[in-house]
């Protein structure tokens, strides 16, 4: 059996605020394989977003190990983590997190500029990504000129433009109405069909079922795991 794309072993995350110690994650074991579509579900405050931040190298675990693409990444330097985020991970946030001063094209181009890629290559990739999400006609617009659904499609384009190993989506439909939410979920499913590995945090059981596998968290622990198909 081949190695999983990512593997968490006994990962914990403790937050300290003044004298209060909060255990956001308590001994998480998780494996995600190449091409898999995994959803992480659970009630508010169960540690879903914290887990996704650790998976995305936005945060580091307090304890335990994390291997991404067979390499330990739990204690990398800041610059190495930035490099891996840039090349191997694509993010989709609930609040889109597009940069308001940049056009749609520039927002999608942003991760590629941090790779030092040539302008021509960037252009090719950005246009392809925008085509993929159906936003090529809006390339010159600013995010503020787009609807929420359109902004999230741009965010998806930005996530996939660098051809990452895994897409991490944090409540990608949380700020959208049902129509736009469905459209984004369709887009993710389409990407998965095309071979993308996706890990999505959601509290909506409808959307969780889109994934191959659903992991349920409670109080920072994995309490259940379903195979959906």
């Amino acid at each position: 059996m081949s190695e999983p794309l990512l593997r968490l072993d006994a990962v914990t995350k403790v937050f300290y605020t003044d004298e209060v110690e909060t255990h956001a994650l308590a001994g998480i074991h998780l494996e995600i394989n190449q091409g898999e579509y995994v959803s992480i579900a659970g009630p508010s405050g169960c540690g879903k977003s914290t887990l996704l931040s650790i998976l995305g190298l936005l945060d580091s675990p307090s304890d335990g190990s994390y291997q991404l693409n067979s390499k330990p990444v739990q204690s990398l330097s800041l610059s190495d983590r930035a490099r891996i985020r840039n090349r191997e991970i694509g993010f989709i946030f609930q609040s889109f997190n597009l940069i308001g001063d940049l056009s749609v094209y520039e927002n999608v181009e942003l991760p590629l500029t941090y790779r030092g890629m040539s302008s021509a290559e960037r252009k090719k990739r950005v246009n392809a990504a925008l085509e993929k999400v159906g936003m090529a006609h809006r390339a010159k617009h600013l995010p503020s000129q787009l609807s929420g659904g359109q902004q999230q499609r741009v965010a998806v384009a930005r996530a996939v433009v660098g051809d990452p190993l895994i897409l991490l989506a944090d409540e990608p439909t949380g700020n959208l109405d049902s129509t736009n939410g469905d459209a984004v979920m369709d887009l993710l499913r389409e990407l998965h069909r095309g071979g993308a590995t996706i890990c999505m945090v959601t509290h909506d059981s409808r959307f969780a079922r889109h994934a191959d596998r659903s992991i349920h968290l409670f109080d920072g622990r994995v309490v259940d795991e379903d195979q959906n198909h």
Partner: protein, 812 residues
């Protein structure tokens, strides 16, 4: 490179989108950088830029040195020729003296500033004429010296740049001079010492001047060029040997040989004079203003950084490393400061123009002050450095955001507490620096006020002055000169509106000096002591009463004092008390003329008040006056006391002079008050600059405090809303906000007082009549800054009282 261009493009876009922020930041930076550029351009021109001569470092000046009376005198003709012929350290040595010429014929008569020079002046300076030639060695001979070289500006002004003027003659002092050359516009010898010269003629020493008994008849400025490889110390050593030999050979036994020598100094040092320290102090203070501007902009950026926290977190999440984010933010801040620097350069250019216009003759090398590549490099360097200084803290703060928190939906911006602390620290820093700058300015303003309070020893109000020079060709006889001035003054006194009129060879505070040693009858100068030395002038009758110089004993000069009457003198009270401390000087006799066989003794007939002659703030020498009727100086300065505005009489007074001799130009027509004002020019220059910088510092500090409080109120609107919902009154909110602001202000003031106490002692030499830690200045400035801070706090505090609790709570 591509990334850099992208960052620059993005930076411009963000500036455009936030015009308010951009404008305030650019104004603050332009003021800070502009002020630094302006002062640096002055320093560059005066202190750093080489003089505009060939190999200027090799140029030195030579003086007769009287160490015991701290006098660096000019050099005599015999001295000059002796050093020129015997000193081996110099490639060449030239002599220059002051002169003025009446130009007549071909237009209105004009008084010109000219300078008789030795023929080799131009070659010593390494200067070539633009037209014609300079002087030949043989033209240094009497009778062969009626040739003239014109300055470029004078040639343009008077002759319209006529290239055919060379080899033609012009009439100077009623004598015909052949124009042999015109110097280029770049040759402005004399200007670096505040003298604008129109022409040069050859000096022709008389055989009488070249006798060794005239060794101390000093009236030449000597400039020399060191031979390649010879240091100034080696040259000084050789001059010491020459001086030793001269002392042994020509100073009479019993004379004070130790109080005479030769001193050489780099010409550049002579030009710079004592303005060096003032300039560096100004530079230090102006860099504090820049630091305040930096702190201000850093605070603006910190406030803006809070808005951009999410953007930076997104960039980081997408793979931008911390350094990459810092680089982008620094690119933005550097760009901001370069734009600010460009505007600062414009401000400096405008400021320098105004500065030069006001101080053209009072500041050395003022004509050279301007923008050049050094100034541009300085501005660019300061701009980039400034960008890094004010951009670094916000960049570091922004780049270390908590990504997990920041990217969360509704996540907090992170490190707000740390940023608030940094912003408060910056405001304290600004207040402290502003206080140092303000106190420095306050001390200079107090000093200036003190100088203005100094009694000059005469009454400068309602006094008109004008200068007249009689050509010796036309007024060769002594009685002619005495009678001319007697008649002119008589005519002027008869003019309506004139109360009285007199004349003196040199006016107080005019920048001209004349001094000499004298003997006191019956007193031998003991071995090892110098002859008494003092300022000496020729004065007409009514000079003292017109100037309102008080008589203390005896009488003023009057019609009894003629060329044939008993030689007399009037001394000032400092001379009286110094040399006759326990005696009555009246009737005692002094002498400064003649040798042992034919000494002329002058009887002291009056004692007058001391006059501040050289400056209002410095110590003047002892003073004595000789009646013009017994001296017959050709060049005199008329003083006319009027009932009303003295300038209104300039025309009729000129008319009275031309009525006697229409070819006599009248020059330097100005009020006595103008001389007094001009004598304080360098002090006013420093005070004005510092005053401007202090105002900028005060404004920046107030804006900084206002900005921090405004931002804090935006941040705390929820808290304020809660407080008001719980029953807080407007006064409670006012107290809360003003308390927060004033705490920062008072910490800043306290630190500033300590800083000023330590730093202002560096400027002691610039102060007059006030101590470097003058309690009144410190207290007044601290109070002023506190009041300004209070006003700066009041505006946001009043806004805070308008917070609607419902809106604030709903918003949150």
């Amino acid at each position: 490179m591509q990334n850099l261009l992208q960052d620059i493009r993005y930076a411009f876009r963000t500036f455009r989108k936030r015009p308010g922020f951009t404008l305030v930041a650019i104004i603050a930076l332009a003021l800070g950088i502009g002020a630094n550029t302006a002062i640096f351009s002055v320093i560059n021109s005066i202190l750093l830029k080489p003089l505009a001569y060939k190999d200027p470092a090799a140029l030195v000046s030579i003086n007769h040195d009287y160490p015991k009376i701290n006098l660096k005198a000019s050099v005599s003709a015999i001295g000059y020729t002796h050093y020129r012929d015997n000193a081996k350290s110099f490639e060449s040595m030239a002599a220059v003296t002051g002169g003025s010429f009446n130009l007549t014929g071909g237009g209105d008569p004009e008084r010109l500033n000219g300078s008789p020079v030795t023929h080799n002046l131009f070659s010593t300076l390494g200067a070539q004429p633009a037209l014609g030639r300079v002087f030949l060695p043989e033209e240094d001979q009497p009778g062969k010296n009626k040739v003239v070289v014109l300055s470029h500006a004078f040639w343009q002004r008077r002759f319209g740049g006529d290239p055919g003027l060379v080899n033609k003659t012009i009439t100077l002092n009623d004598e015909s001079y052949t124009v042999v050359g015109v110097m280029p516009a770049s040759f402005q010898f004399g200007r670096e010492l505040g003298q604008v010269l129109d022409l040069w003629t050859p000096i022709a020493f008389t055989s009488e001047q070249l006798q060794f008994n005239r060794l101390t008849n000093e009236n030449l400025f000597v400039i020399a060029r060191l031979k390649p490889g010879v240091t100034i110390q080696q040259a000084q050593s050789e001059l010491n040997t020459i001086a030793d030999n001269l002392r042994r050979e020509y100073f009479p036994a019993g004379a004070d040989r130790s109080n005479w020598g030769l001193a050489t100094q780099p010409f550049r040092e002579l030009v710079i004079g004592d303005i060096r320290q003032a300039l560096w102090i100004l530079m230090g203070i102006v860099s504090l203003v820049l630091l305040i501007a930096c702190a201000n902009v850093a605070n603006l950026l910190l406030a803006r950084a809070a808005d951009r926290q999410k953007e930076m977190a997104i960039r980081t999440a997408l793979g931008a490393g911390r350094w990459r984010v810092i680089r982008q933010l620094l690119t933005e801040s550097a760009l901001l400061s370069v734009v600010g620097g460009a505007f600062g350069l414009l401000l400096a250019w405008w400021g320098i123009g105004a500065l030069v216009k006001v101080n053209e003759t009072q500041i050395p090398r003022a004509n050279e002050i301007g923008l050049d590549w050094r100034v541009l490099a300085f501005t660019l360097g300061v701009s980039l450095l400034t960008g890094v200084i004010f951009g670094l803290v916000p960049a570091l703060q922004t780049s270390k955001a908590d990504l997990h928190e920041t990217l969360k939906e509704g996540g907090r911006s992170g490190s707000g507490g740390a940023r608030g602390w940094v912003r408060s620290t910056l405001v304290v820093f600004e207040m402290a620096l502003a206080l140092v700058v303000l106190i420095s300015a306050g001390l200079l303003i107090r000093s200036f006020w003190r100088v203005q309070q100094v009694n000059p020893g005469f009454e400068p109000r309602n006094l008109l002055t004008m200068s007249v020079g009689l050509p010796m060709t036309k007024y060769s006889e002594r009685p002619q000169r005495a009678n001319f001035y007697k008649e002119v003054l008589s005519r002027i006194r008869a003019l309506p509106g004139v109360r009285s009129a007199g004349a003196c060879s040199i006016l107080p505070l005019s920048g001209n000096n004349s001094s000499g040693s004298f003997r006191i009858e019956g007193r031998d100068t003991p071995q090892g002591q110098s002859l008494p030395h003092g300022d000496r002038w020729a004065a007409t009758t009514d000079y003292f009463s017109t100037m309102k110089i008080p008589i203390i004993r005896g009488r003023f000069f009057d019609d009894r004092d003629t060329i044939d009457s008993t030689p007399v003198a009037i001394i000032d009270q400092t001379l009286a008390s110094k040399y006759w401390p326990n005696e009555d000087p009246m009737g005692k006799r002094i002498s400064f003329e003649g040798g042992p066989q034919n000494r002329i003794w002058r009887e002291v007939v009056g004692i007058v008040g001391h006059v501040k002659h050289r400056s209002l703030e410095g110590e003047s020498r002892v003073q004595y006056y000789i009646p013009h009727a017994q001296m017959q100086n050709p060049n005199m300065n008329l003083v006319i006391r009027t009932d009303a505005d003295p300038t209104s009489l300039a025309g009729v007074a000129r008319g009275a002079i031309s009525g006697l001799d229409k070819d006599l130009p009248v020059y330097r027509v100005q009020t006595m008050e103008r001389f007094v004002v001009d004598s304080m020019a360098q002090r006013r220059f420093a005070m004005t600059l510092l005053g401007v910088f202090a105002s900028v510092a005060l404004a920046l500090a107030a804006v900084g405090l206002y900005g921090v409080l405004s931002y804090s109120i935006t941040q705390r609107s929820h808290e304020i809303g809660v407080r008001m919902a719980l029953g807080a009154q407007a006064r409670d909110v006012l107290r809360l906000v003003i308390g927060q602001g004033m705490l920062l202000a008072l910490i800043g003031v306290a630190l500033g007082v300590v800083g000023a106490f330590l730093l202002t002692r560096l400027m002691s030499s610039l102060l007059f009549g006030v101590g470097a830690s003058d309690p009144l200045t410190f207290a007044a400035i601290a109070l002023l800054l506190t009041l300004v801070a209070l006003v700066a706090c009041l505006v946001p505090a009043l806004r805070a009282t308008k917070v609607d609790p419902m809106v604030a709570l709903r918003y949150e």
